[in-house]
């Protein structure tokens, strides 16, 4: 009995009850798998310029290209098979979303918990800076940083982290501040445990639930922000198109009715973002004690 009532299992049992959440989770997992195995399942390697033929460019869905197979979703202006480009684009988008999400989670949590635990002047300094930054729109910050650092994956991730860590810091600070005042932390501090150990072993784990919720939402946000930056031409180099860049590539051709170049990458982007958000919503509801039956 005690075995199958671990918190994780209980959580999963509750999660399964909501059909929409379950569908969204399946969508997220399938998308990640598609991205992981992009090189195996894609009919074409969209980065191999030698295999691309300009004769095949901007063809509608269902066109049989010079390499002999059907382009199910058509081709883009460089003659890439759109389906393959979307798989590879998903891979880049997810990669960047996860990387930016985890780095901002780490930095933000460290700052927030330090502020709440140490208190005093450091607390005031850190939180002032973070409030100042939160009053500034994330997109603008990311835009300026990318503009300054130039193009590339690392630069893009740094910009996303700079734009997002403050949300984690706020959340971690709020949670840690509330936990800090509770008796169990006082009790742990009364023992000869080092302060670091108390923070890592006791304070941090109890701050995790709200942070996990923020993390899911922020990963979706970074993916969307990355797509926006790429769309504005400030993202990754053209040789490795992310979903945002595929959409941007197709934009000029939309006016002449070649909708598929922008529309299909856009649809996959939205499915991914909406699915992550739905899963995040569900997790948040389950963590929220006020909504518990």
């Amino acid at each position: 009995m005690s075995d199958d009532r671990t918190p994780l299992r209980l959580f999963w049992a509750e999660f399964r009850e909501n059909k929409i959440g379950l569908v969204a989770l399946v969508v997220v997992v399938v998308t990640i798998l598609l991205a992981l195995f992009a090189s195996i399942i894609s009919p074409q390697d969209p980065y191999d310029l030698a295999k691309l033929s300009l004769m095949d460019s901007r063809r509608p869905p269902g066109f049989i290209g010079s390499s002999g197979y059907t382009h199910l979703l058509g081709t883009d202006p460089q003659g890439r098979d759109l389906l393959s480009a979307i798989f590879y684009g998903l891979r880049i988008s997810i990669q960047i979303g996860l990387a930016a999400g985890f780095v901002s989670l780490t930095i933000g949590t460290a700052l927030g918990i330090t502020a709440a635990y140490v208190g005093g002047r450091i607390e005031a300094l850190i939180m002032r800076l973070i409030d100042l930054q939160l009053s500034f729109p994330a997109i603008l910050l990311a835009l300026v940083i990318v503009a300054l650092l130039g193009q590339g994956k690392v630069q893009l991730i740094s910009a996303l982290v700079a734009a997002q860590y403050a949300y984690f810091a706020r959340t971690a600070y709020g949670a840690a501040k509330a936990e800090r005042g509770k008796d169990y932390i006082e009790a742990a501090l009364a023992t000869p445990l080092s302060g670091r150990l108390v923070v890592m072993r006791h304070l941090l784990p109890n701050c995790m639930p709200p942070l996990i919720v923020v993390a899911t939402v922020q990963i979706a946000n970074s993916i969307s922000l990355e797509a926006t930056l790429s769309f504005l031409g400030l993202g990754l180099p053209v040789t490795e198109p992310s979903l945002g860049m595929l959409i941007a590539n197709g934009f000029p051709y939309m006016m002449s009715g070649r909708y598929w170049i922008s529309v299909y990458p856009g649809i996959s982007l939205i499915i991914l973002i909406v699915a992550i958000n739905v899963v995040g919503d569900q997790v948040r509801d389950q963590f929220n004690p006020r909504l518990r039956k």
Binding site: L132, I139, L140, L143, L148, I247, M255, L269, V274
Partner: protein
């Protein structure tokens, strides 16, 4: 007082951030220029001085209302931004105001009758408005209304009318048709936010004693909604309205690019592309200034509508 401090810190951060990286001299002078021309240009723009000295020159000019000259357009930055600002303001105001009015009405309805199918539809749409990236909505709007149906133009400002020496689009039919798509694009996210806010507030307040007593007195439901509910939910809505006004100004960057709307957002994207520092710095400081001002105005409005704040301040 705090606002001034915030502005000072912002100006240092923005200035150093923008000036620390990238060498604008290569864009200002042609690549075939001789060494003398190059050095002369560097001296003329004050780029040979140490960073702190550049900053002090910048600040003293700023206090005199001079934000420098654009490297690229060779025009005073203030004039450049001032010329573009009306277009952005017009777009932002129209979209935020219409989003608020519509969003609050829909949100109150959704909170008042949470189980009706209309309320559920409203909420489903608001989830979509939240998660779908704004540039994508813009693309779809263009595809559907400009390309497929050809009802509305996809870009530009259209016909403008001069009022007080500034060109505005909204008084003419043609101008309005040009504003429609970008304004809808910009408003959609705000609409979703306002719906959620109004709905949450309504659900909470409908359960309070205020409403119970108002009903007990025999006031009609519509009077309760108008006179009591609207007043009570207006505080968070005004806060968010103010903040959103600022962030919409920033988000207009994306919308203006898609619809080639000639506002400040498009200007900043173009300036980032060519590393036109004075324009970037001025724009960011302007946005920071706007945020600080908006926060200040929100506080004032609170004092006006909330007796608790008013009495607390005078005590």
């Amino acid at each position: 007082m705090q606002a001034i401090l915030v502005m000072a810190v912002m100006s240092v951060i923005v200035f150093c951030g923008v000036y620390a990286i990238g060498n604008p001299i290569d864009i200002v002078i042609p690549p075939e220029a001789t060494q003398e021309i190059r050095l002369e240009a560097i001296r003329r723009l004050g780029l040979d001085r140490p960073l702190y000295e550049q900053y002090f020159i910048f600040i003293s000019n700023l206090l005199q209302g001079d934000l420098g000259r654009s490297f690229v357009y060779n025009l005073p930055v203030l004039e450049l931004i001032g010329g573009r600002l009306p277009a952005t303001l017009e777009l932002v105001l129209i979209s935020v105001i219409s989003a608020t009015v519509l969003g609050v009405s829909l949100g109150i309805y959704a909170g008042y009758r949470p189980d009706s199918w209309l309320a559920k539809t409203i909420m489903a749409v608001s989830v979509l408005g939240f998660s779908v990236p704004s540039f994508w909505v813009g693309l779809i709007l263009i595809l559907v209304f400009a390309v497929n149906f050809g009802w509305l133009p996809a870009g530009g400002r259209g016909q403008t009318v001069e009022i007080l020496g500034i060109a505005w689009s909204f008084p003419t039919i043609n101008g309005l048709s040009h504003i429609a798509l970008p304004a809808i694009n910009l408003a959609l996210f705000k609409l979703a936010l306002m719906i959620r806010l109004a709905r949450a507030g309504t659900r909470e307040i409908m359960l309070t004693d205020t409403i119970k007593f108002a009903r007990a007195v025999g006031l009609s439901e519509s009077t309760i909604l108008r006179r009591h509910l609207l007043k009570l939910i207006s505080i968070p809505i005004i806060t968010v309205f103010g903040l959103e006004l600022g962030s919409t100004l920033a988000f207009a960057v994306v919308t203006e690019t898609i619809f080639s709307w000639p506002g400040v957002g498009k200007l900043i994207i173009d300036s980032i592309g060519v590393l036109d520092r004075p324009v970037m710095v001025a724009y960011l400081i302007l946005v920071a200034f706007l945020f600080v001002t908006i926060n200040f105005v929100i506080d004032l409005v609170f004092a006006l509508i909330d007796p608790r704040v008013r009495n607390g301040a005078s005590a």
